[in-house]
């Protein structure tokens, strides 16, 4: 029952909306099949499949809201969950920031589903592990990786006649390869909607090459360097900056987008003019479901255009209070760039540092979005267009709001998903000047 058809989902949601005696009712039905395989020390350590289907019902009496969920869908269970939500609503305190259920939306479907991903079998997952482990064993390397795939559906409806249904798939692969003497470490990551574009045998070569190439790393002095951040290395920084785009926090004076004296920096040029960031649920490489968690239709939304802030994220409550229009919150972040690959950008670099991956990134100061974190699994010194030698990892203290003013060059965006980000992202490799490394790390 994990993946329902549109008709099956609609039948259940229609019943729920009819059963409700509240002023309004919104229901969301989601189902997923998630499979994974994990391996370490060149052996499979765990693998599993989790099936889950859930119905969440939210009702309101005036400004009192109640929510209940259930994973059984016979009429008695549906009746039970609706009544439970109604009981909770009657007991709840009034929410002064209550906003009525959304009006009927027009959802334009996006291409988020691939049959091949939904058909991934345990044998396929075991094969991914084997494709990584076997070449590593032969080359005195040690693989530790995680491959996870999901097939999902989501359906929403409310008593104002809104209805939406869409299926989606996703594949996420990461693998760390270390030399057997633990002196070198490399990494590779891929995120895709359609697994037919994935080939573990090819991907693992990148991590193996970086592992072998990172042995005997030299120590450079911490300081400001020209860096090439591979897309996976900068994605987390860009994603964290997006949390500062909340309109309410900006208006309240507690965001880097707050304006001195009150108000926000919407319309101001804050970044290099080559910075263009937008959201687009229909983007061919990073499509997402065309509505947000509230059911609001997503739109193609310019966020930063030629360095100018064009968008702040208004919740429905804050939009109503400020007289703005609330639109669906972005599910993807697309940063444009050029045509060059990371390799091409290395060729054009006289002196610099190549960063494969960044790690344990935390906010140090929300006033400036200052973030700290470390490089990991392949940091190299570039001289005269070539990787000269591996270097020891650095800790950085850098703000994406400063970093995106220090652009030398942007390459071709690739799809990235970060463990700690809610977004699917298209991020270019970035060549940046004056990136701030504050200390060395002995970690390999």
């Amino acid at each position: 029952m994990s993946i329902m058809t549109e008709q099956e989902a609609k039948t259940i949601l229609d019943k729920v909306c009819k059963m409700s005696k509240a002023d309004e009712c919104t229901a969301q039905l989601t189902g997923s099949v998630d499979g994974n395989v994990r391996y370490a020390l060149n052996s499979v350590s765990t693998s599993g499949i989790v099936n889950n289907t859930d119905l969440a019902v939210q009702v309101a009496f005036g400004k009192r809201v109640g929510t209940a969920t259930i994973n059984e869908f016979d009429d008695t269970s549906l009746e039970k969950v609706v009544r439970r939500a109604e009981e909770l609503a009657k007991l709840a305190p009034e929410n002064p920031e209550f906003v009525p259920a959304i009006e009927k939306q027009a959802y334009k479907p996006s291409d988020t589903y691939a049959d091949k991903t939904a058909a991934i079998s345990p044998d396929y997952r075991a094969g991914v592990a084997a494709d990584c482990i076997e070449p590593c064993r032969k080359d005195k390397l040690v693989a530790a990786g995680f491959f996870t795939d999901s097939a999902r559906f989501t359906a929403i409806a409310n008593t104002k006649g809104n209805f939406g249904y869409q299926k989606s798939t996703n594949v996420d692969f990461t693998c760390t390869v270390r030399t057997d003497d633990a002196r070198g470490s490399g990494w590779v990551a891929r995120n895709l909607g359609d697994v037919s574009k994935f080939n573990a045998k090819n991907e693992i070569k990148t991590a193996m090459q970086k592992a072998k190439g990172s042995v005997d790393a030299k120590a450079l002095e911490p300081g400001k360097y020209t860096v090439i951040l591979e897309p996976a290395a900068s994605a987390h920084l860009v994603s964290d900056m997006m949390f500062g785009f909340d309109a309410r926090q900006a208006d309240e004076g507690r965001s880097f987008l707050s304006r001195k004296g009150g108000g926000n920096k919407l319309g101001e040029k804050l970044f290099d003019e080559r910075v263009n960031i937008y959201a687009d649920p229909w983007d061919a490489d990073s499509a997402v479901v065309p509505w947000d968690d509230d059911g609001l239709a997503r739109e193609k939304t310019p966020i930063v255009t030629k360095g100018v802030v064009e968008y702040l994220q208004y919740s429905r409550y804050w939009a109503q209070k400020q007289g703005k229009k609330a639109i669906g919150q972005p599910g993807n972040i697309i940063m444009t760039g050029g045509d060059k690959s990371t390799q091409d950008m290395i060729k054009g670099t006289k002196k610099g540092v190549l960063v494969t991956r960044t790690w344990y990134i935390r906010l140090v100061d929300p006033q400036t979005v200052l973030l700290t974190g470390l490089t990991r699994d392949g940091t190299f010194y570039i001289e005269n267009g070539e990787i000269k030698y591996p270097i020891k990892n650095f800790r950085f203290n850098e703000s994406p709001a400063i970093m995106l003013n220090n652009i030398e060059e942007l390459g071709k965006p690739v799809r990235v998903a970060d463990d700690e980000s809610p977004f699917i992202m298209m991020i270019p490799p970035m060549k940046l000047r004056d990136f701030t490394f504050t200390s060395l790390s002995d970690a390999v």
């Binding site: 259930i70 920031e97 530790a144 693998c175 909340d246 507690r254 470390l374 790390s441 002995d442 970690a443």
Partner: protein, 544 residues
């Protein structure tokens, strides 16, 4: 932690609150109910019998009911009250010398037997790639036993209204004291866990935890500057009595900050937070350089957690976490040498899952092992790791140390950090005594930003309150402070640890590890300690 699996509450803004999206929403009354042990035993016996007849050489069954309540407010508003319940059965078997695991939310005998079958087939399939069979440290079954967190007041029994009234009263007090904004929350957890194994154990446990975090923001519109101050409470393995503030648990620190030990005055702390957040707006920006640090337990717990707790987990040392959380610099050769100087002779750090009132305190771990205490670092020398049953033989132990945990019935249990704590100094020493000998230092209270590398060498920590120490006296508040450290050098620079009168706990409700990610709750105790010659950086930047 995988942020995509989390729900966001309180807006998407920087520092937005992110909570694990656990379980189903239920009525508050559901949180008061329990499943009786006899029913659970019957279900467990079905699984144990099915495993035996299916060829398992070992089986354990966890029947779990995980209840959570979140009460979330800002200023004069209740943003959300959420009650969740998640229940089901997880079965782990060893067949062909290999682990297999499966779980089901259907708590009837047929479904449980089916889960056993799945676990057996996974074990048998994976055994083809298994280099050597799982080796379990022996343990004797404990029969039918039970254990409960020794609480005075079950937080789930306190009416929601009382909780809402408390938070709104706290918020109002902070706003009157100068806060521009405040967010206050109650997180309440009750894990009802039943463990049974083919070793003959039937263990029924009732575990409670509480956390009451707050965050005050002060905004200066004219300068555009804003500063936050988080509450100085600690999450605890206690009942609602933690919020009944007792005067003997109130500690006034040198310099004027007030912290709390075994009970918490939420309102008093919120008022102080409002005043201190405002004071931070004009505090002196630190001059970067070398300072002696005096670290309060409300801060030091996080440094212990990151630089010792995680570093001494044996699965990380061996490479099982290499792809995500990383490995560890505390390699087996350092332990075998018996002379690796992790810290100065003032530093004794121990693991302990028995300390009352801590987040990690349970009677038995999720492998049915009675919890215990052991040293990790003794007088500065590395002496041990944290291991579970299938790892004990690797370091020559004949028993598990009882630190196995799963965050849900549907998650497979694995090694998780015990409470890891710094032993108090043996000689009489108070924070005042430490400070009076410091010429040029910084006194840090509360935990802030934190980051550490994948082998636990290089770390950077912020804090909530920073005070300059000049010639033995606390002189003024500082801002923009973070210190960077290399783990062994940092612990070897420890020159003083206060006595047990100053011993307090901090902790984390949401410590992440594993793929797929799991969370666990863990406490860390310490007394105030001094570390010489730390590298302090200034974190202020200008956006132009």
């Amino acid at each position: 932690m995988d942020r995509r699996d989390f729900i966001k509450m309180g807006g998407i803004g920087l520092g937005a609150l992110i909570l694990p999206a656990y379980g189903r929403h239920v009525a508050a009354e559901v949180l008061l109910t329990k499943m009786d042990a006899a029913t659970k035993k019957k279900l467990a016996d079905v699984a144990l019998a099915a495993a035996k007849s299916g060829g398992a050489t070992y089986c354990d069954v966890r029947i779990g009911r995980y209840l959570r309540q979140f009460v979330i407010t800002r200023e004069d508003k209740v943003q959300n009250v959420v009650n969740t319940e998640s229940s089901g059965v997880g079965v782990r078997v060893i067949a062909n010398g290999t682990w297999g695991f499966a779980a089901t939310s259907d708590m009837d005998p047929d479904s449980v037997a089916r889960a056993v079958k799945q676990a057996l087939s996974i074990a048998k399939a994976n055994s083809r790639m298994q280099a050597s069979p799982v080796q379990l440290a022996p343990t004797k079954g404990v029969g039918e036993v039970s254990w409960s967190t020794p609480i005075v007041k079950n937080a789930m029994e306190v009416p929601i209204k009382e909780k809402v009234d408390l938070l709104l009263d706290v918020n109002a007090a902070a706003m009157s004291a100068g806060a521009s904004f405040i967010r206050s929350i109650l997180f309440l957890v009750n894990e009802q866990k039943y463990f049974a194994s083919s070793d003959g154990s039937y263990i029924d446990q009732d575990i409670h935890r509480i956390w009451a975090p707050t965050q005050v923001t002060a905004v200066d519109k004219a300068t555009g500057k804003f500063r936050t101050r988080d509450g100085l409470s600690a999450p605890r393995g206690m009942g609602y009595e933690y919020l009944d503030a007792k005067p003997e648990h109130r500690i006034a620190l040198p310099g004027g900050a007030v912290v709390y030990s075994d009970s918490y005055n939420m309102k008093e702390d919120a008022i102080a937070a409002a005043k201190q957040a405002r004071e931070k707006l004009t505090a002196t920006s630190v001059k970067p350089g070398k300072y002696d640090l005096v670290l309060d337990p409300s801060h030091l717990w996080l440094t212990i957690h990151e630089s010792v707790g995680h570093a001494t987990e044996l699965d990380r040392v061996l490479g099982y976490e290499a792809n995500y959380a990383g490995t560890s610099f505390v390699t087996l050769d350092k332990w075998k040498s018996k002379d690796f100087k992790y810290g100065s002779d003032k530093v004794t750090i121990f693991a302990d899952k028995t300390q009352p009132g801590t987040l990690g305190a349970v009677g038995y771990d999720d492998e049915g092992i009675k919890t215990q205490r052991w040293d990790l670092i003794k007088d500065g020398i590395l002496v041990n790791y944290q291991v579970i049953r299938d790892q004990a033989h690797i370091i020559g132990l004949d028993h598990s140390q009882g630190c196995c945990y799963a965050d849900s019935w549907s998650s497979v249990q694995f090694q998780r950090m015990a409470n890891v704590s710094l032993s108090p100094g043996k000689e009489k020493l108070a924070p005042e005594d430490v400070i009076k000998n410091v010429e040029n230092g910084i006194y840090i209270v509360g935990d802030g930003s934190f980051s550490i590398d994948q082998q636990r060498y290089n770390a950077q920590f912020g804090g909530q309150l920073f005070y300059e120490i000049k010639n033995g006296k606390v002189t003024q508040m500082l801002e923009d402070v973070a210190y960077q450290m290399r783990t062994p050098e940092f612990w070897n620079s420890c020159v003083a640890v206060c006595d047990d009168k100053d011993y307090r706990f901090g902790g984390s409700f949401f410590d992440g590890k594993g793929q797929p990610g799991q969370i666990s709750a863990v406490s860390h105790g310490s007394s105030t300690a001094r570390f010489n010659g730390a590298n302090v950086i200034n974190t202020a930047r200008s956006l132009g």
